[in-house]
């Protein structure tokens, strides 16, 4: 087996052998599927009882609403995947074993991204399937053959992966768990509040480029007219992640561990 494969295997062992992985996976599952069931059941009930107009309902998005909560868990796992190594001192053992630091960081990021992608797609498709079954009782369910539905459902897993990598990048850059978690939440949520300080016409433009607003267009089927397109939006989110990962990768070779 090649050296690179061994490195990926090593990082996979690390990821699967700590509790935080299972806790965050459990929270992400509960959030995306549990919350999805709740909101789809309520929507179906409201429509059946005439409390809600089914016109203009984004059925796909409704079933994927739990991803807004799941992203928090995935982002935290992304931060912890790297910051916990610094916090515990494990990083020194890691770098003694793999002094090619950038290669180590790449392997760790790749394993985390792949695990998140697979997990995220499973969650997204499951949430879609269960949610549409519930919405079908109100005759508003859609299938993966409907326009945009397959892209949005695949996009749900991609979105979680991108948010996870944003957390990973911030964790690698700041190396301190509490600081990195704060920065992650600030970038994902607090920026929205800050844009309210801008003049309204600026704000209305800028707000579309914030990481969550841009990225989640990938699982919206009915898009607000001024929002970014699904793939453009996801790309913007990826740029935020890269903006953290690239300096982290440059600095890791130079900083004392």
């Amino acid at each position: 087996m090649s050296t690179e494969m061994n490195l990926l295997q090593s990082e996979w062992t690390k990821l699967r052998s700590v509790r935080s992985t299972y806790w965050t996976a459990a929270v992400a599952t509960l959030a995306s599927i549990g919350y999805g069931i709740g909101i789809c059941a309520r929507t179906a009930y409201n429509i059946n009882h005439g409390h809600q107009d089914p016109h203009g309902l984004d059925a796909t998005l409704t079933s994927l609403n739990g991803l807004y909560i799941a992203q928090v868990a995935v982002g935290i796992l992304g931060v912890l995947t790297i910051s916990s190594e610094y916090g515990t001192g494990m990083i020194r053992a890691t770098l003694c074993a793999v002094p090619q630091r950038r290669t180590m960081l790449a392997a760790k990021g790749a394993v985390f991204a792949l695990a998140t992608l697979i997990g995220g797609e499973i969650l997204s498709f499951t949430a879609f399937g269960i949610g549409q079954a519930l919405l079908a009782s109100a005759h508003v369910g859609v299938s993966l053959h409907d326009p945009g539905a397959l892209r949005a459902t695949i996009g749900g897993g991609l979105y979680l992966t991108a948010v996870g990598l944003l957390g990973f990048g911030i964790g690698a850059l700041l190396r301190h768990t509490a600081g990195a978690l704060s920065a992650f939440f600030a970038v994902l949520f607090a920026l929205t509040a800050i844009t309210d300080l801008l003049p309204t016409n600026w704000r209305n433009v800028v707000i579309n480029y914030l990481p969550a607003n841009a990225g989640n267009q990938i699982f919206n089927v009915l898009r607000p007219h001024d929002a970014l397109g699904p793939w453009a939006g996801l790309s913007v989110l990826c740029l935020y992640a890269l903006a953290a990962i690239i300096p982290a990768a440059l600095l890791i070779e130079r900083r004392d561990a």
């Binding site: 050296t3 295997q9 052998s17 935080s20 190594e85 002094p99 130079r254 561990a257």
Partner: protein
Amino acid sequence: MIDVCELSKRFGKTVAVDGLTFTVKPGQVTGFLGPNGAGKSTTMRMILGLDAPTAGAVTIDGRAYRSLRQPLHEVGAVLEVRAVHGGRSAYNHLLCLAQSNSIGRRRVEEVLDIVGLRDVARRRVGRFSLGMSQRLGIAAALLGDPPILLCDEPVNGLDPDGILWIRTLLRDLAAEGRTVFVSSHLMSEMALTADHLIVIGRGKLLADASTTEFIRTSSHDYITVRAANPLALAELLRRAGATVHDEPDGDQPALRVAGLGGTAIGDLAAQHGIPVYELTPHQASLEAAYMQLTHDHRDFAAKSEEHVQ
């Protein structure tokens, strides 16, 4: 073979390591000695490529650590306690390190046996005692069966059994022809473990010698003399060429005499009719030699003395 050449490390205004040059040779235990804050750990970290030197270089068999591929096969390092994720089991901790260097699961089992942790291999490392953590660190260092071993303060906080175990292990590994480099601030421990000593203080090299040579050259034998008229005797001894001080230890006033043998002191006292009650020769210990050498080179003297206790 570890070659340290003109190595310096500065943290802001603090100079942690200051132009160190020495070589660590195979086949013996080399002790790396100095008070706390002398720069031992920083030097170790530079050897392992964790910290970048401000100036100078370190090579392992001619190559920089950062250029080694799968270095666990060449260098094993026991870092300060708990360079591990506390939530991981001992087995998984070793497994992830092993996998990164293409080392198989069988070797993980083997090193767990060598350090005696097989029964607790599935337990979370965070619950380990200090002694178990040290054993785990050694297990990790042995994974690649490396010809070079570095241990940073391996006996810190261990009980006598654990200390004896590590001492024996390090001596055995050196006897197999490996390079063994062990840091400690405990002189007494190094006296028992090390064949060769590298002593530093405030980042500077103070001594680089075999342990026996170090004791012989760095400290002087002396004799404690208790006599009826110490003032007069002190004067006579000085005239005879001895160095005389008041004995700082002991509850009765006495003289500490260096540079003159017991027989000469006794004869001199007899000739002048001064009764002598005690003549106690003192052999230099490594502890004393170390204290003398590092006396002017300690940082945080009070703190390090606390640790020595």
